[in-house]
Amino acid sequence: MSDAVTTRRSRRQSRGPYGRLGSALNELDDRVGVAKGGRSFLDKIFPDHWSFMLGEIALYSFVVVLVTGVFLTLYYVPSQALVTYHGSYLPLDGTSMTEAYASTVNLSFAVRAGLLMRQMHHWSADIFIGAIVVHMARVFFTGAFRKPRELNWTIGVTLLTLAIVNGFLGYSLPDDLVSGTGIRIAYSIILSVPLVGTYLAFFIFGGNFPGTAVIPRFFILHVLIVPALIVGLVGAHLFLLVRQKHTQFPGEGRTERNVVGSPMFPVFMAKTTGFMLIVAGVTALLGAFAQINPIWQFGPYEAARISYAVQPDWYMAFLDGALRIFPSWSFHSFGYTIPFEVTIPAVVFPGLLFGLAYAWPAIERRVTHDDALHNLLDRPSSRPKRTAAGVAVLAMLSMLFIASSTDVIANFFHVSLNTVLWTMRILVLVSPFVAYPIGYFIAKEIHATRGGGRRKTVNVVERTASGEYVATPAPAYGDDVPTELAPTPVPTFITPPEAVPPTDPGTRTVDR
């Protein structure tokens, strides 16, 4: 027993104080020099504010999208060749359909866990895009896009664009009746581009709609090209994040020159890994209990058929709404046509919207003449104009979102389609102008309120013997007293004391 202990001890001593792992790290450091950078990476501080989790939701749902997507590629067949279905889903037995559709039906019924993976893929795609939007709103309303982080804002807007594009491409892959109609609409939108529209459409689709190239081309874009771009940009996004360090809200001990929070290892790593598991878990639960895109009910795509409740995925709805409410103003002149009724709502409008998003940091800088570096965040209330502008855009987008279901609204409320149409037209145009002042004044009010967000302390009113009233503020509530300690640098534990002279904490001599 004691023998074993001694050998173990001597072995440990020969390995140095950190045992096997420690000596492995030393070996690695000898060759690639990981210690210094690795140490500061482990000490990297992450601010503990809930709103910083939004980006994490986006990241982790993208991980789920990737994993489930790889599963789908193993069974999905990207081909428009016609087959007659004789699979396990009997209502479609004997139907002629493309291999793409047949393989997606098969994925749903014949592949073990296939339906779950399909539904998880679709849910996580929707969550991915939703999380990007909310994350972007957080960055916008807190001014996190200001210098030095404009580049990361630009990358973020590009990521949102790519995510929406890839969502549309993926949605098209099953080649069912609903998604096929979506492709038809996309084709017509491309066709509407002045001058080059017909060429663009013919090159993208390999000919007139539908052609035989759409599904294979969309497939390779969807599973390789766009995801590769997204992965690369996510990498750049995170690299910049690490390099520039997080922003933080102002508060106790927080300055422009520091970051306060939890260290990467182990606290943040535990929390974020746990959070990833939660995101994946919730997605799986949604995949289990909330049906999404039951393509077997829609039937295969046939160009001359149409289903009645045609509605795209949620992130496309604002475009659909814009197309619905825009008037039928086609422009004809000099023997040419510009289909304004399509070009403006579906090409120009999203172009302006994303252009505005790209340009916002520059616009704001031009207005404020603020050239300083910012690491402390704004509270939305302290920048009423910016906040109001964001609210105005969101209000308009929400109205467009609602406008994508004019027919449903008309049926539901038993009003004429015409009434709904005009109501939505007016709401879309008016909402930003109503939302702006409301946002502005609410922000100003909140900003003017002292200690907003904290409970007010009670004033105790007493009547003295002489009949006088005296008000004395009661002491603060126990949990309103800041419990946070003053921030301190991440401590390092080392073997005492001879290994490291305390005056030189960063270095360590390695015996060779």
């Binding site: 202990v5 104080p17 000490d43 073990r112 779950l116 017509s188 509407s192 002045p194 001058l195 529209g197 017909t198 060429y199 013919f202 689709f205 709609f209 190239a213 001990g253 020159r257 306060v260 939890s262 260290p263 606290v267 943040f268 790593m269 535990a270 929390k271 890994t273 746990g274 990833m276 598991l277 939660i278 995101v279 994946a280 878990g281 289990a288 160009a303 001359a304 058929r305 149409i306 009645y308 045609v310 659909d320 039928s328 086609s330 023997g335 040419y336 046509t337 510009i338 289909p339 009724e341 389609l417 015409n418 946070e484 300690l485 921030p487 640098p489 991440v490 401590p491 080392i494 073997t495």
Partner: protein, 312 residues
């Protein structure tokens, strides 16, 4: 264990004592929290194993999702709680170091690019120009095959359909449509014979046939012969974005596109009455031959479907 503690007495070299409150867990009752976390992990573990079991026996899809989702969820909650309540509560701080380099280094960097590069290139302007020209030309030349191979040129394809003078109208199965086919007020989708099963027949030539009355029906001036015995034919491609105009509102005699609710009046040449569609649906001139079959007099007189630049 004893050696461990002997060797690893925590000594902070950055001024924190081992019993510093920053290192204490955030939880007020760490023991309790630990138990709750353990419970989460156990439930997670059981569910994850259950997932394996469900997969093994090929249970219903929802059981797979429920066990996997639940398992990951509980493991995740436990791990988050561990990080949040049992690990050093902090807060910790890290200094930011300015990203910008010292002025000297910036100058040196800029100088290296401008002076060194500029010097070399400026002295050999012609070489630089030739190289740039060659690479630029390659870029442009390479762009053409890259784009051009992607698909055919549009040429006239968007201007014509496959309806010709004398083409029989057939239904989805290829059966010729004859005059007794439709009751008044009903509609069907027809295709040019022989193309009913092709992509082009389906996507471009699709035509909606309406029986609107018993007599020749005139929708507009100049179309006196187009709708014999009340058989009217319109392109089924919505002029908005090309969805099939699949609905017929019989009372109002409106063709309705379900995509964005454009409505076309069947009686007057499908002039849009509502919605974003800018143009009437093109009308196909029909005749009824001696055997009573419905046939086209010619192609449509204008391009079908949504608008595009070259369309006049």
């Amino acid at each position: 264990m004893s050696q461990m503690s002997e060797h690893r007495t925590p000594v902070s070299i950055q001024g924190l004592a081992a019993d510093d409150p920053h290192l204490a867990p955030a939880a007020r009752h760490p023991r309790l929290v630990e138990r709750v976390i353990a419970l989460n992990f156990v439930v997670g573990l059981v569910l994850v194993i259950g997932f394996g079991a469900c997969y093994w026996v090929n249970a219903a899809p929802w059981t797979l999702g429920a066990t996997m989702g639940g398992g990951l969820f509980f493991l995740g909650v436990g791990l988050v709680a561990w990080g949040k309540y049992l690990m050093p509560r902090g807060p910790f701080v890290e200094e930011r170091h300015p990203l910008a380099s010292a002025a000297v280094e910036r100058d040196a960097f800029a100088a290296a690019i401008v002076e060194r590069g500029g010097g070399v290139v400026k002295r050999r302007k012609v070489l630089g120009g030739l190289l740039g020209g060659g690479l630029g030309a390659f870029g442009i030349v390479a762009l053409f095959p890259l784009l051009r191979s992607l698909g055919p040129l549009p040429k006239g394809t968007l201007f014509h359909t496959d309806w010709r003078s004398g083409t029989y109208a057939v239904d989805q199965t290829g059966r010729r449509v004859s005059v007794g086919e439709l009751a008044i007020g009903s509609i069907m989708t027809v295709f040019p014979e022989g193309l009913e099963n092709t992509d082009r027949g389906q996507a471009v030539d699709q035509t909606v046939l309406i029986r609107i009355s018993n007599e020749n029906f005139v929708t507009q001036k100049g179309r006196e012969t187009w709708a014999p015995q009340g058989y009217l034919a319109y392109s089924k491609l919505c002029t908005h974005l090309g969805c099939p105009v699949g609905l017929y509102e019989q009372q109002l005699q409106l063709l309705v596109c379900p995509c964005h609710q454009s409505m076309f009046n069947a009686t007057n040449g499908a002039i849009p009455e509502f919605g974003p569609a800018p143009r009437p649906l093109p009308q196909l001139p029909l005749y009824i031959d001696a055997q009573g079959y419905i046939r086209a007099q010619s192609d449509y007189h204008e391009p079908v479907g949504p608008g595009f630049w070259e369309r006049s």
